[in-house]
């Protein structure tokens, strides 16, 4: 790996579940104790790499994305984006990144153009240039022209997700954090987004960290994949090498899904046996 875009070293994040009020947490009913969301995770992502993070629900994927996105502070460890520490140099990191989350969060009464203009101004872009770009990106993503000035709440979930992707692309980030970006999209929209991801990497050299439940998506898009379970990275390699982790079954080549089930299933079984 020539140049590192994201460096994660022993990242650790724990959440205290229960009431907002500490005195209430003493009550057994209110408290469910600490939950380790990210447990000593380490990896590097090279510049221009598409790095996948696979894991079941609650495995810590989104927490990891939020830590890199400066939306959470790690309890231990260090995370750097192009050598800028996410805690000490958060503003420098914020200038380099953008994020698409599974929830397409917008001002629902505002139109895509109004929401994206807000985003463009937040990132200090020239608004006239930005408005031209907004139309071009939304056009590229297949959004109907008539939808650009209508309230976002009148759009389908898939369309809203496309607007969210357009918002992230608008700032031309060096690092794009894609947290389940294709969840809820129809197969056609999914393919359009996936081809856009490839195009971004090939044309702009954008580094991407992609979390997904879609094994085929991870297999076809990602250069390397980390499989997470209960906050830990249980495997990290190229899709081809990951597939060698499990033996072929009934003469068929193992899929990434086989690897995923094998690794996360084993972990769960081991933990149950240890209790």
């Amino acid at each position: 790996m020539d140049e590192i875009a994201i460096h994660v070293q022993d990242a650790y994040k724990v959440f205290q579940k229960g009431s907002d009020f500490p005195w209430k947490r003493k009550n057994g009913r209110e408290s469910s104790g600490p939950v380790v969301a990210v447990d000593n995770v380490s990896f590097d992502v090279g510049v221009g790499e598409i790095f996948g993070v696979l894991g079941p629900n609650g495995s810590g994927k989104s927490t990891l994305v939020r830590l890199i996105a400066t939306l959470l502070l790690p309890d231990r460890g260090s995370i750097k984006v192009f050598d800028h520490d996410v805690v000490r140099e958060s503003m420098a990191v914020q200038r380099l990144i953008n994020r698409v989350s599974v929830e397409a969060s917008f001002f629902k009464k505002l139109s895509p153009m109004e929401n994206l203009s807000y985003g463009a101004r937040l990132y200090g872009l020239d608004i006239r240039q930005a408005r031209l770009q907004i139309r071009a990106i939304l056009d590229r993503l297949g959004l109907e022209h008539s939808s650009i000035d209508k309230p976002v709440e009148e759009m389908s979930r898939g369309m809203q997700q496309k607007v969210a992707i357009a918002r992230a692309l608008l700032t031309r980030p060096a690092v794009l954090l894609l947290d389940e970006p294709t969840t809820g999209l129809d197969p056609r929209s999914k393919r359009e987004v996936q081809s856009l991801v490839r195009e971004l990497r090939d044309q702009d050299g954008t580094t991407m960290l992609l979390t997904t439940h879609d094994m085929v998506e991870a297999d076809t898009l990602c250069d390397r994949i980390a499989i997470m379970d209960v906050g830990r990275v249980v495997a990290l390699d190229t899709p081809e090498k990951l597939r060698t982790f499990v033996s072929s079954q009934n003469g068929n080549e193992p899929t990434l899904e086989d690897v995923f089930l094998e690794l996360t299933g084993k972990i769960l079984l081991n933990e149950e046996n240890n209790v």
Binding site: R66, T70, M91, S101, S105, F107, K109, E114, Y123, R167
Partner: protein, 275 residues
């Protein structure tokens, strides 16, 4: 350095433009709110005309109406500023956009400056409409009133309410589910001690002592002196000075507390939970 400053200025305008879009899109709500505010101001002001009958003795009802009109107008103006500032978080909690905005590479001062500029402009226009309706309905003669002086007093009082609003905005940050409702406590306490509808001298000693530190007390007294007595602008300095001092203290303290709270929210993962 200049580029960075101009980028921050552009980013600051993002909040002004976004709020203007929101007001435009929620125009029917704005009309309802305006009707409510006018009805509210009128019903309080009519108490002035009714006092003669209630007390069963001769009272200068017109003077009492003026006293109450100024109280309702100043209070509407200051509380509007307060609520727009607290909305800096509450609104984004409601829409689910808080993570996107707090991930943008902008200083919190830039963020608050944009929200404040909009809050002051909106509140002045909104209060102006209520003033016009009230003047027309009660046939109030403002020919000897110092309107410029009154506006200056109100603008100087805005600063402290901006500071108090910034402190209030931490409640929705700390308590995603009920934080927005909690901000009403702050405004209710200020309403009680600041002499909005009565002179502070009628309050118990303890509340009178608190009234001394409430910036609204000086804004109300100053505005009444300008509108009811036509006090020249230079003589209004007695009221402007304490309001400016309160603002000079409240804004930096508010920003400092907000910074600490934002850090706490990032530590505990409270940004993600939408109320």
């Amino acid at each position: 350095m200049i580029t960075s400053a101009s980028q921050q200025l552009r980013a600051s305008y993002a909040f002004i433009e976004r709020n203007a879009y929101l007001v435009k899109r929620y125009w029917s709500w704005e009309l309802v709110w305006l009707a409510y505010s006018i009805a509210n101001s009128l019903s309080v002001s009519y108490i002035g005309l009714g006092m003669e009958r209630i007390a069963g003795q001769t009272i200068d009802g017109r003077q009492l109406v003026l006293y109450l009109v100024v109280g309702t107008l100043v209070w509407r103006y200051l509380s509007l500023i307060f609520y727009w500032i607290t909305d800096v978080i509450a609104l984004e909690r409601w829409e689910g956009t808080i993570e996107y905005t707090l991930m943008a590479p902008i200083h919190r001062l830039t963020h608050m400056a944009g929200q404040t500029a909009f809050a002051v402009t909106y509140s002045l226009l909104f209060t102006g409409v209520i003033l016009a309706v009230t003047v027309k309905l009660f046939q109030i003669d403002l020919s000897s009133a110092n309107l410029v002086g009154a506006t200056l007093v109100m603008l100087s009082g805005s600063l402290s309410f901006i500071g108090v609003g910034i402190v209030g905005s931490i409640l929705p940050l700390l308590f995603p589910e009920r934080g927005a409702q909690m901000t009403h406590v702050i405004i209710a306490l200020l309403l009680l001690v600041s002499g909005v509808y009565y002179p502070v001298e009628v309050l118990p000693q303890l509340l009178q002592k608190i009234a001394v530190v409430s910036p609204a007390t000086y804004v109300l007294e100053g505005t009444r002196s300008a509108l009811l007595d036509g006090l020249p602008t230079l003589q209004l300095w007695t009221f402007v000075r304490p309001a400016l001092i309160a603002g000079g203290i409240a804004i930096p303290i508010g920003l400092w507390i907000f910074g600490l709270t934002e850090r706490y929210a990032k530590k505990t993962g409270k940004l993600h939970r939408n109320g």
